[in-house]
Symmetry: C2
Subunit: 404 residues, 2 copies
């Protein structure tokens, strides 16, 4: 039992998005400076699906699924065959490489579910896993849970370094050091950095050379800004044998409330993922699966509008943070901003809690993404435009207030 | 990597309910005896939610959840606080012991999700786990996945033995042998056996004495027949410190398509389960959570009708199997029947596949529930009454055809 307690101690969710309701913030009143800043609250820890509504028709298609009854309630563990057919075809077109709907795709409870199953199917006690830092916080927690060993590989990003990009030498060292699995998000979470074609090709070549299994989390790859180009890892010329790509309609499409994701790639891994899904939660909720019919099937122009709206919010927030001297990577895709804060008179985690109490602003502490990014905060800027701008200004005011 | 392949080899889903679409049944044509039996197909591997419709109002309440928008899409990982409030109050009344909605309850993606999280929060490499045999197949698979060791404890049930009930001496031996966790379903899956008050009290006392954590899967405890009495483990006089009870509206209430379950009990375990949920699938699908408002809140008389309908089907099927000389425990609760078949000229697994091909009947092979129950099959009799009766008769015909 002591082991399991240690393991779970490393999986803390205290500072995770959405868990604010469980905080005890009593001590903050002793370190608080100044009054409450007026303004409408903004929760930057996740996107606002009220400001950016779910894909048109999602509700109607869900109701059709409910009407379909038992055949939609009970599907294969990997999801209903007809739905997998259409999704596989559309994902093949999007990523530029074929997807066999029978053997190479599984529908999961959210993209989080896909990530859990992919790592559960490839990481066991002692498995060495190359993890990019900074990157999505669950990557490290999952490796810990499955008993694997983390081999961190640094990502230099604008705002933190002069040079940007993946440290390919460090990646090769991790592979030489015995990494059997590489997991990374592209666009990078939390910075919005998109890997260059050169980087992706080099990563694929190295992974093939060292027989590394690659889990590519491309959750946000549809929300690509006009100044960016995206390279799909799975469509590289020299690809490793084992590649799983993860996506889902939870973010860009504001369909998070349905908990839908997919993983697609190497059939043997998808098989193991289905075995694991059978004991984790059987399947993604049956009626909800039907909503995948809307995915990559949106009304004409809808996605372009959504991208343009987000690009406009991005640009306004970047201007606010840059003017205030908070170094911030320009996100090339996705809806995350990761401004770096100066030295403060309070700890970064306390500052994040003060932001909520005094500025009505919820952000995610940078310490969730890498041990060395505690002085940054992550914002999901998929918000009401005007409210987000006002809230970003309040963050700047709070930084001024607590700056050393 | 070899370890993980071995682990997953033990987690086969080939014979699991709902996976029939993935079978290759080519060889069966060489051993097939007789023609196809006419009749409407019945899938006894799960309940028929078209024959027994979801709780009245479920769809309308789901749509209200969707209308509520972001606050319902993004909840705490353990589920929306207001929903937990009501559910905790109603579960306390049902089980006869208090439930703190803030610390002692988590909403999960189905009862399967609750079971996964409960064992993931208590079983680690080397943890010894007492498992009842026969019992729900995922119990053994989950312990295997988490690297634990199974200590089997036999359940004698009508049809298999003259004497019925749990082998309490074997249970104490498992505890003496170092079991730290006990997981069991009550009513028992697959037999429908309900533990007596004496048995539950004795189990609780032993678990308290040996400081064993108990996971009580009471998924079917609401579907209790008129001739039965149910004892809630968590309300025992002498209870162990760590008890998690699992339930959900997926079965009796035909709400499986929503993937909703709950686990309630010891706060420290619920805390770990929430940390695990954060990396497994974040939360039960947000809009779906709203449907828990209907749970233990059904229209007056609705549950009594549902129980009566199932009791009538149970009695007719029992009569068919008993008349044919297939020993079958009388289920005191739930909707499973577990008839024992005589020696056949084909293997039990092939017989199950022949049932599907020749009789249009899907059942679950007994080998899924214990190593020694391969000559039984499990039927979920939550089906259209007339179709179920006709299908049970076809099973008997098939048994006659293949009997040694």
């Amino acid at each position: 039992m002591p082991n399991i307690l240690e393991k779970f101690a490393k999986m803390a969710t205290e500072n995770a998005p959405g868990q604010e309701a469980r905080h005890d913030d009593g001590h903050l009143h002793t370190i608080m400076v100044g009054d409450v800043l007026p303004g409408e609250p903004v929760d930057f820890s996740h996107g606002d699906v009220d400001a950016h509504a779910p894909t048109p028709g999602a509700r109607e298609i869900w109701n059709e699924g409910y009407d379909a009854g038992g055949c939609q309630a009970y599907t294969e563990y990997r999801g209903l065959a007809e739905i997998r057919d259409g999704v596989a075809r559309r994902l093949a077109a999007f990523t530029g490489a074929p997807v066999d709907p029978v053997h190479e795709l599984i529908i999961t409870p959210g993209t989080q579910g896909a990530l859990f199953l992919a790592l559960g199917a490839t990481v066991d006690t002692g498995t060495k896993v190359a993890i990019i830092e900074p990157d999505y916080f669950a990557n490290r927690k999952l490796v810990t849970f499955f008993g694997g060993t983390i081999l961190p590989v640094g990502l230099r990003y604008q705002g933190a370094d002069d040079e940007t990009g993946l440290d390919l030498e460090a990646l090769e060292q991790a592979f030489q050091g015995g990494a059997e699995v590489l997991v990374f998000s592209n666009p990078n979470n939390p910075t919005g950095f998109v890997y260059s074609q050169h980087e992706i090709q080099a990563m694929a070549k190295l992974a093939a050379q060292y027989s590394v299994t690659v889990v590519a989390d491309q959750l946000y790859s549809r929300l690509l800004y006009s100044d960016a180009q995206f390279t799909h890892f799975r469509a590289c010329d020299t690809c490793p044998k084992n590649v799983i790509t993860i996506m889902g309609p939870s973010k860009t499409e504001s369909l998070s409330g349905f908990r839908l994701g997919v993983a697609f790639g190497t059939a043997a891994i998808v098989d193991r993922m289905e075995k694991l899904q059978a004991v984790v939660s059987l399947r993604a909720a049956g009626y909800n699966q039907r909503v995948l019919e809307t995915w990559f099937n949106e009304p004409e122009g809808w996605m372009a509008d959504r991208v343009a709206q987000h690009q406009a919010i991005r640009d306004d927030l970047l201007q606010i943070f840059n003017s205030a001297g908070l170094p911030t990577t320009i996100p090339q895709a996705g809806s995350y901003l990761f401004p770096r804060l100066p030295e403060l008179t309070v700890s970064p985690v306390d500052f994040v809690r003060l932001l909520r109490l005094q500025a009505g602003v919820i952000v995610t502490p940078g310490s969730e993404f890498a041990p060395w990014t505690a002085n940054s905060v992550r914002l999901n800027f998929s918000q009401d435009h005007a409210k987000a701008v006002a809230a970003a200004k309040r963050i700047v005011t709070m930084v001024e207030r607590y700056k050393q």
